[in-house]
C-alpha cells in the first residue's frame, strides 16, 4: 500500500519518483492484442469500407497468432515460480500461460467462424443501428455493408480474457472483467438474422452483467475494507492474520465474508453457475452463433481462470470458509441445469444448459482445492472448449429450408444422419464427448476433475456429478436419436456446404476431441501442474502449502 505521512488529517501522498520496472517481454502479448485492437479501430476510421474487412481479418489473425507464439515462448523462458509484472498488478506463471494460450487458440478458431461468409454475408447485421425490417436495413443489405467493428471488439474482449486470469489484484481483475464483457455485450446484438432475439439477448446480457459486476465490485470494496489492500498476496496475508491493522482482534470477519460472497457472485455469474445462470440460455440462443461459440469456449476458460485464481490465491488460506458455499453451488448447478435441459428443444439453448452443467463439474475440481483439482479443471476447460466450438460450428451449417436461417429445433433434425452422415457423425462425437464416453476428451476431463474431488474427500459431490451426467446423457442421446434413428420427414433441414473454414473448425474439433481422449498423456503430464513435477510450477496460481484445510 502506498504509505501516508500519518499526521492527523489528510494531506496528499508522497508520490514515489521512480517508475515501476516493466517486463516488456512478459507484457508483450497484452500489448500486441491491445495494439491490434487500437489499430483496428483506426482502420475503421480511415480505411475505405471496401478494403476494411480483409485488413481487419488479417490484423486480428496476426495478432492472435503472435500472442499464441509469445505464450509458447514465454512458457519456455518463464522461471518456475512465475513472475509478477507492472508493479504486481499482473502475475504470470505456467498455469496462467496455459489459460491464456488456450484462450488464444480457441479465440483463433472462433475467429474463423466469425469470418466465415455464406454467399457474401457473414453472421452479422449489415447495419446494427437500423431497425429490423426497415427500409434502411434493406438498403444496407443491398449495399452489402457490414460491421467490420466485430474484429476490434473481439480483440478487446480477448485482451480482457488474457488479463482476467492473470490479474494479481482485484482492481485489475475488475477492469479485465469489464474489458472482456463490454465488447461481448455489443457483439451479442449484432446477429444478421432474427435480430429481435439478438437485441434482446444483448440487453439481458448487458443489464445482468452490469448487475453482477456491481456485486463483484462491492465485494472488492468489502475485501479492501477488510484487508486494507486489493493485492492478492496482501489480501491473503491479511486473511491469515485476521484482517488489516484497523481491525484489532479480527472483528472485521463480516466484511471478509461479504467480500468473499459478493466476489464469488460476480465470478459465478461469469461462469454461469446456478442460480446465476439464467442469462446463458437466452444469450446463447440470441447471439450470433460464432459469438456464442466464442463465449462458450473462451469466456468460460477465462472466467474459470479468474475464479480459480481468486479462490486459490487471495482466499486460498481460508478454504473452510468458502468450501460449503461452493459445494452448494456446485450441486445446484449440476442438478438443476441437467434437469432443466432435458426438455429443451432448441439446440443452442441445450448447449447453453450443457455448458452450465459442465461448469458445475469443473466447480467440483475447484472445491477439491488441490493441484490435481487445478490441473483437472484446466484440462477439462481446454477439452470442453474444442468440443463445444466444433458443436457450434456444426450448428452454423444446419439451416431451415425456407430463408435458410439456422434451424434450432432439434425435433426437425430428423434424418440428418442419413443424408449427411459425416456432419451428423461429427456432432454425435461431440455430444458423446459431452456425455463423457471413454475415448473422447470429455471422459478424461470428467475423470480428472472427479478424481481430484474424490481424492479431496468430496465423494458425495462426485456422486451427484455422475448422476447428473447420467441425466445429461439423456438429452445428448436424444439428439443422436433424432438425427440417426428418426426417418426424415420432408420438413427436414438443409445443410449448407461446410466450406474450408467451418469444415476446418469441425475437423479440428474432432481431432482434438479424439486426441485428448485417446492420448491425453502429453497434455496431462507436461502442460499441467502436478505435485510430482519437481519445483512447484504453479507458484502464483496455487501454492500447496497454503491450501491445507484446518482439519474438520
Amino acid at each position: 500500500m502506498i504509505p501516508l505521512n500519518t499526521d492527523e488529517g489528510f494531506s496528499g501522498p508522497v508520490v514515489t519518483t521512480q517508475a515501476p520496472t516493466l517486463d516488456w517481454w512478459l507484457l508483450a502479448p497484452f500489448l500486441v492484442v491491445f495494439g491490434a485492437g487500437v489499430l483496428a479501430v483506426l482502420f475503421e476510421a480511415f480505411v475505405p469500407a471496401a478494403r476494411r474487412r480483409g485488413l481487419q481479418i488479417a490484423v486480428a489473425f496476426l495478432a492472435l497468432l503472435t500472442t499464441f507464439v509469445l505464450f509458447v515462448l514465454q512458457a519456455g523462458s518463464l522461471p518456475e515460480e512465475g513472475a509478477t509484472l507492472v508493479a504486481g498488478v499482473l502475475a504470470v506463471d505456467r498455469v496462467v500461460l496455459f489459460f491464456q494460450g488456450t484462450v488464444a487458440v480457441l479465440a483463433l478458431i472462433s475467429l474463423v467462424l466469425i469470418t466465415e461468409r455464406r454467399d457474401g454475408r457473414d453472421a452479422f447485421a449489415a447495419q446494427a443501428a437500423t431497425v429490423p425490417g426497415s427500409e434502411q436495413e434493406r438498403a444496407h443489405i443491398m449495399a452489402g455493408s457490414q460491421h467490420t467493428e466485430v474484429y476490434p471488439l473481439v480483440l478487446f474482449a480477448v485482451l480482457g480474457m488474457f488479463m482476467f486470469p492473470a490479474a494479481n489484484d482485484f482492481l485489475t481483475m475488475f477492469i479485465a472483467l469489464e474489458v472482456m464483457s463490454l465488447p461481448l455485450y455489443l457483439l451479442c446484438g449484432l446477429a444478421r438474422r432474427r435480430r429481435l432475439f439478438s437485441q434482446e439477448a444483448a440487453v439481458k446480457y448487458f443489464l445482468l452483467g452490469a448487475f453482477s459486476s456491481a456485486f463483484f465490485l462491492f465485494g472488492i470494496a468489502m475485501v479492501y475494507g477488510y484487508a486494507g489492500s486489493v493485492n492478492f498476496a496482501e489480501v491473503r496475508a491479511a486473511v491469515e492474520n485476521g484482517g488489516a491493522p484497523a481491525f484489532d482482534g479480527g472483528n472485521g470477519e463480516p466484511l471478509m465474508l461479504m467480500g468473499v460472497g459478493l466476489v464469488a457472485i460476480g465470478l459465478l455469474f461469469k461462469v454461469g453457475a446456478v442460480p446465476f445462470h439464467n442469462w446463458k440460455p437466452d444469450v446463447y440462443q440470441g447471439a450470433p452463433t460464432p459469438i456464442t461459440a466464442l463465449m462458450a469456449s473462451c469466456t468460460l476458460v477465462a472466467a474459470f481462470g479468474a475464479l480459480l485464481r481468486v479462490f486459490f490465491v487471495p482466499f486460498g488460506g481460508s478454504l473452510e470458509l468458502w468450501e460449503p458455499m461452493l459445494w452448494t453451488i456446485a450441486v445446484l448447478t449440476m442438478v438443476v441445469a441437467a434437469i432443466v435441459a432435458v426438455t429443451q428443444r432448441d439446440v443452442k439453448r441445450l448447449l447453453a444448459y450443457s455448458s452450465v452443467v459442465h461448469a458445475g463439474f469443473i466447480l467440483t475440481a475447484v472445491v477439491a482445492a488441490s493441484t490435481d483439482g487445478l490441473a483437472g479443471a484446466m484440462f477439462y476447460l481446454a477439452a470442453y472448449g474444442f468440443t463445444t466450438l466444433g458443436a457450434f460450428a456444426v450448428l452454423t451449417l444446419v439451416r431451415t429450408r425456407d430463408g435458410g436461417q439456422e434451424l434450432g429445433d432439434i425435433e426437425r433434425w430428423a434424418g440428418l444422419g442419413r443424408r449427411h452422415p459425416g456432419l451428423a457423425g461429427a456432432l454425435s462425437l461431440f455430444l458423446l464427448a459431452f456425455t463423457g464416453i471413454p475415448l473422447t476428451s470429455g471422459f478424461i476431463g470428467k475423470f480428472a476433475v472427479f478424481e481430484a474431488a474424490v481424492a479431496a474427500g468430496a465423494t458425495p459431490l462426485v456422486v451427484v456429478g455422475v448422476l447428473s451426467s447420467a441425466v445429461t446423457a439423456f438429452f445428448y442421446i436424444r439428439i443422436i436419436v433424432v438425427m440417426f434413428f428418426r426417418d426424415s420427414e420432408e420438413e427436414g433441414p438443409t445443410v449448407v456446404p461446410a466450406g474450408m473454414l467451418t469444415g476446418g473448425v469441425i475437423t479440428v474439433g474432432v481431432a482434438a476431441t479424439l486426441t485428448l481422449g485417446v492420448f491425453p498423456g502429453p497434455v496431462l503430464d507436461t502442460l499441467l501442474p502436478s505435485d510430482e513435477a519437481g519445483p512447484e510450477p504453479a507458484a502464483v496460481m496455487v501454492d500447496e502449502a497454503s491450501l491445507e484445510r484446518t482439519a474438520p
Binding site: 446484438g189 432475439f197 437485441q199 434482446e200 440487453v203 456485486f215 462491492f218 479492501y224 475494507g225 489492500s229
Partner: protein, 99 residues
C-alpha cells in the same frame, strides 16, 4: 466520525440500487440503478481508504468511474437499439427468449 457510518450508507445505496433493478421496468432506469450500485461501491472504497489511512481506495474509485462511463456508452447503445426497434424501453416487453 466513524467511517463505518459511510460503509452503512454505501450498503444502503447499494441495496436501493439492487431493489431498483428488481422493481423498475424501464431499461434506462434499471441501468441507472446499476450505476447507483457502482457509486455505492465507490463510496465504500473511499470510506475504507480513509479508514485504512491510504489512498488506494480512492484511486480505485477513479478507475471505477471510468469503467462506469464505458459501461454507460455500451449500455445506452444497446438500449437505444432495442428501443428503436420496439418503440419501448420496457424490459418486460423483451421476452422472446425463454423456455
Amino acid at each position: 466520525m466513524d467511517p463505518m457510518n459511510y460503509i452503512v450508507l454505501a450498503a444502503l445505496l447499494f441495496t436501493i440500487g439492487a431493489v431498483g433493478v428488481l422493481v423498475r421496468r424501464n431499461a434506462i432506469i434499471v441501468f441507472m440503478c446499476v450505476e447507483l450500485m457502482l457509486n455505492a461501491c465507490n463510496l465504500a472504497f473511499v470510506a475504507f481508504a480513509r479508514m485504512h489511512g491510504d489512498i488506494e481506495g480512492q484511486v480505485i474509485a477513479f478507475f471505477v468511474m471510468v469503467v462506469a462511463a464505458a459501461e454507460v456508452v455500451v449500455g445506452l447503445a444497446i438500449i437505444m437499439q432495442i428501443f428503436r426497434t420496439r418503440r419501448s424501453a420496457s424490459l418486460d416487453d423483451a421476452n422472446l427468449l425463454k423456455n
